[in-house]
């Protein structure tokens, strides 16, 4: 349990980016986002699914996403989230940053031992 919590903490900041990514194909409700994350991360990330909601609402407060109440296929009132233009830009920025970061880290991790300087 302990090691999993740690990994969750580490990844918590990434949760926002994941939410933005999940919405990049179109509007989703909270459960839909949770299911998407569950599928692509093999159930590893969201120990407590509830933590998704504060993250979502925080994104909404920062106007990265917007929400509307609609009627679901089960004929139930449901809140749907969609990406705003600002959120789309943010996602783009996060992706390019992540790419740079991962390139740099993988280069560092695959580097050979430095030769000694005489």
């Amino acid at each position: 349990m302990t090691d999993r919590t740690t990994s969750v903490d580490l990844l918590q900041g990434t949760l926002a980016t994941l939410i933005l990514k999940s919405l990049s194909w179109g509007p989703l409700h909270g459960y839909g986002i949770a299911r998407w994350i569950e599928q692509i991360t093999d159930d590893e990330l969201l120990v407590e699914e509830g933590s998704l909601y504060p993250a979502l609402h925080r994104l909404q407060a920062r106007e990265m996403v917007s929400s509307q109440w609609t009627i679901s296929e089960t004929n139930r009132k449901v809140r749907c989230y969609s990406l705003t233009e600002q959120g789309r830009q943010q996602l783009r920025a996060e992706l390019s940053r992540w790419e740079k970061f991962s390139v740099a880290v993988s280069r560092a991790l695959s580097a050979r031992r430095p030769s000694k300087v005489v």
Binding site: E49, Q60, Q68, W69, T70, V78, C80
Partner: protein, 892 residues
């Protein structure tokens, strides 16, 4: 799942219910998934909850985030809306430069006038008194048999001081002018001899040194005002401890007061004219010294009334209580000491003492400028309505795009306020210029010798006025237009709609109100100008042209004996008469119009005097031979005073015609005899009758006067009058030389022509009538602009109608009649309302007017005429335009 509904833009939301709903949906969906994988319903629910985490905590977090974000949105939303409105308003104003110019100028005049008058009120009435807890100070006055307040005698003052229980401090004050010699020309300086407790009672702190204190005053000390220290001693920082010569005796400078220490000359009539510039402690017994600055012990003296007194109320004691106590105490003292010149005593709050007489004129002025502002606001409201008529489509479009009525009202009000703030900025510039002019013009007892300035309070006032105005004149068009927009003016093709008719009605009402207010102001200014013109035409009873006056105050040994005084005066008068360019010279203890005023009771021989209160009173003048001739006062019967009327000869007097008429109607006053006091043994015989003069100035009718020769009763001070040729000022250097030849240490004080005195006495009515007249003209001009704009608009709206009528053969006169009928109806309604209001309002002017009643029918008739002419004149251009309508161009 597509976003179907409208974006959720509600400001107030039930975040608790929303969070619960959202989480419930999540749990339901998850439980359904679990059931589909074969769990029992109960297990599925429990598993879903486990997987979700703490529902309560998360729901709370979500709500907190939503609430905070909503709060922030509201805040920034309002601000951005406001900014948007302001920018939008500015853009709109820039697009309509002529509208903006007229509106801003109109408002600038209204706000500027208000701000300028407020700066006078700020300086005159609202300034803080430079004393510790100044509103706890009162003045104590004697009450005479006639009910008038007057100075106290030392005995009476001490009785009041000892008997009072409501005061924590008490100080007597006497005004004396001092001759300062050494270091430059001799100069007469207004000063005060005060009880040692004076500075302690006031709680005033000095700039340099330390003033004298209660029961600890070096009799040879002096405290200087800041102004005197700067002017006469070059602001010398080492002045404290130095010795200066006052009235020929050495005095040690103890302290210099702060620049804001303000102490007017205190007279029985309230007022705040510039006062003493130095203070010395009292004489023996801590009693303030008499005018000749001698060392006589005045303790217990009940004859000389020359003292004013200031006292500090004990904590918890009100002014009314102090007044009651002084009244009771004064009554008792008057019973114990009959004939010490008083019937009772009273107390007056310091603000009433200083500023009482200027309050009403200033409030009248404030009322006048408020009315001017009301007209300005009505004008701008009318302009906005007219402009709004052209903007109806624009506003309707905004409504259609989702703006609420509240939002539109807010935008229109912001626009009005922006306009009015622009007006305020321009108005402040006007007020700044105006207050400079007012500073020069305002009578001394309005603002003392302080300059008017636009301080923070004045700026705040201007800002407040402009915001209130913006809301006031913005409200009518805002309500009108927003309702209009609601009615959907989009569909309207340009024909007159119900909306524009409504706007027209609102504007008609505004114009009628404007005319009514202008009529009130015009009646007021007519009354004031009339009153002032009458004042300037009053015959004061003497020839004021080419007459120089100055005061001489004797000090030292020469002042102590009446014989020596008279000797000196005679010598000086002879010398003055010999100066080239001088036609006649004379002297009197007190001069008419602006000089001091002495009064006396007198007992005519054989005249019934049942009690003390019915003793006849007269102005009391002491004059030298030749005074009447020099002043241009006619001796109607008998003779002038003569040098041979010495103290050894039989006492004689001259009276004026008013006294003769009142006391000896139908009889020859020559040879009649009077006594000034029942204890006197010798009768004073009337040897002459002179023509009436207005001693107290043009506004006070002649009263009985008695003139005695200075050779029989003299004072250590005398005012000299010198009749010259057409250029009185050219003689002044020779007059100075003549005086200096006789005595180089004698200063010439108050050197002025009699015309200057007369001017000064008229300064208050001139100030008031000039301002009221200026504002009246301003009001009428603004009303003219208002009527013109209204007529122009209404004509332009009816151009199609006129064109059709002309095409159908209507004659021009008919159209002219149509336009004029409307204008005159409005003007008539406004005028009647205005005259009725004026009839009710001008009552407040009683006492401020001279020789004309506030209900003067001529003033009302003149106003009606002017307003009717103005209304007609305002119609001229619009009517001409209506007639020039080309039917073809408009019908197309």
């Amino acid at each position: 799942m597509s976003p179907a509904g409208r974006p959720d833009r509600r400001i107030w939301r039930d975040t608790r219910a929303e969070a619960a709903e959202e989480i419930a949906f999540h749990l339901e969906m998850r439980a359904r998934d679990f059931r589909e994988r074969g769990m029992s319903a109960a297990d599925a629910d429990a598993a879903a909850r486990r997987r979700f985490g703490n529902v309560e905590t998360i729901s709370r977090q979500v709500r907190a985030i939503d609430d905070e974000s909503a709060r922030q949105k509201r805040r920034t939303g309002m601000w951005t809306d406001f900014r948007q409105d302001v920018i939008y308003a500015l853009r709109g104003l820039r697009r309509a430069p002529s509208f903006t110019a007229v509106a801003v100028l109109t408002l600038a005049l209204g706000i500027g006038a208000n701000t300028a008058i407020f700066s006078v009120i700020n300086t005159a009435l609202l300034r803080p008194l430079p004393y510790a807890d100044g509103d706890r100070l009162v003045f104590v006055w004697n009450v005479r048999d006639s009910g008038q307040t007057d100075n106290l005698g030392p005995g009476r003052m001490l009785d009041l001081q000892r008997g009072a229980t409501g005061f924590s401090g008490f100080a007597g004050i006497a005004h004396i002018s001092y001759t300062l010699t050494g270091a430059g020309d001799p100069e007469r300086i207004p000063g005060s001899s005060v009880s040692s407790s004076f500075f302690d009672v006031l709680g005033a702190r000095p700039l340099l040194g330390e003033p004298f204190h209660t029961n600890a005053a070096d009799p040879s000390a002096v405290v200087l005002s800041h102004a005197l220290w700067k002017r006469r001693f070059g602001a010398d920082p080492s002045i404290v401890g130095r010795t200066i010569a006052l009235n020929g005796r050495p005095r040690v400078v103890l302290a210099v007061m702060r620049p804001d220490f303000f102490w007017p000359s205190i007279t029985a009539r309230p007022g705040a004219s510039p006062g003493p510039e130095l203070w010395v402690p009292g004489g023996p017994g801590d009693i303030p010294r008499t005018a000749i600055d001698e060392d006589r012990d005045m303790t217990g003296n009940r004859n000389a009334g020359y003292l004013r007194a200031v006292a500090r109320l004990k904590p918890g004691v009100t002014v009314a209580q102090a007044r009651a106590e002084m009244g009771a105490l004064g009554d008792r003292i008057s019973r114990d000491h009959p004939g010490d010149g008083g019937r009772s005593a009273t107390a007056l709050a310091i603000r009433d003492q200083f500023f009482g007489p200027v309050e009403r004129p200033l409030f009248v002025l404030a009322g006048v400028v408020t009315l001017v502002l009301a007209i300005a606001c009505a004008n701008v409201a009318g302009l906005l309505l007219g402009r709004g008529a052209a903007r109806r489509r624009d506003l309707a479009l905004r409504r259609a795009l989702g703006a609420t009525r509240f939002r539109i009202i807010r935008q229109l009000l912001t626009e009005a306020t922006v306009l009015s703030c622009a007006g305020a900025v321009a108005g402040l510039a006007l007020a700044w210029w105006g207050s400079t002019a007012l500073s020069a013009m305002a009578p001394a007892d309005f603002i003392g010798d302080q300059p008017l300035h636009l301080d923070v309070r004045v700026l705040a006032f201007a800002l407040a006025v402009s915001v209130v105005c913006g809301l006031a004149f913005g409200a009518v068009p805002a309500l009108q237009l927003s309702r209009d927009a609601l009615a959907g003016a989009l569909a309207e093709g340009g024909a007159r709609s119900s909306g524009s008719r409504r706007a027209g009605r609102a504007r008609d009402v505004l114009v009628a109100i404007e005319i009514a207010v202008a009529a009130v102001l015009l009646v007021g200014s007519t009354l004031f100008v009339n009153s002032f013109l009458r004042l300037t035409r009053v015959d004061v009873g003497l020839d004021t042209h080419n007459l120089i006056t100055f005061d001489v105050n004797l000090t030292g040994e020469r002042a102590q004996f009446q014989a020596k005084q008279v000797q000196f005066y005679e010598a000086l008068q002879q010398r003055l008469a010999q100066v080239p360019g001088v036609r006649a010279a004379g002297a009197a203890a007190t001069l008419p119009i602006g000089g001091d005023d002495f009064g006396t009771g007198f007992l005519p021989e054989g005249y019934p005097v049942p009690d003390e209160a019915s003793v006849p009173r007269a102005g009391y003048q002491v004059v030298a031979p030749g005074y009447f001739a020099a002043m241009g006062i006619t001796i109607k019967a008998g003779r002038d005073v003569r040098a041979s009327d010495t103290r050894e000869a039989a006492p004689v007097a001259l009276v004026n015609e008013a006294l003769a008429r009142e006391i000896w109607p139908g009889q020859d006053p020559l040879g009649k005899r009077v006594k000034f006091d029942s204890t006197e043994t010798a009768w004073t015989t009337v040897v002459g009758v002179v023509s009436d003069i207005r001693h107290l100035g043009p506004s006070v009718p002649p009263r009985p006067e008695i003139y005695q020769p200075d050779s029989q009763r003299s004072f250590p001070f005398m005012a000299f009058v010198v009749r010259t040729g057409p250029d009185p000022y050219s003689v002044i250097p020779s007059l100075r030389r003549a005086v200096a030849e006789l005595d180089p240490t004698l200063p010439l004080a108050g050197l002025k022509t009699m015309d200057e005195h007369l001017e000064r006495s008229l300064s208050k009515p001139r100030f008031l009538s000039t301002l009221v007249a200026v504002f009246g003209v301003l009001a009428v001009t603004l009303a003219l602009v208002g009527i013109y704009a209204m007529m122009a608009w209404s004509v332009s709206e009816r151009r199609q109608e006129f064109a059709i009528r002309l095409a159908l053969g209507a004659r021009s006169p008919l159209l002219v009649r149509m336009v004029l009928r409307k204008a005159l109806l409005l003007a008539g309604a406004g005028l009647i309302a205005g005259l009725v209001a004026a009839r009710a309002a001008t009552g407040v002017l009683t006492g401020l007017l001279y020789g004309i009643r506030p209900t003067d029918p001529a003033a009302f008739a003149a106003t009606a005429g002017v307003i009717a002419l103005v209304a007609l004149a305002a119609c001229y251009v619009p009517v001409r335009r209506a007639l020039r309508v080309s039917p073809v161009s408009l019908l197309r």
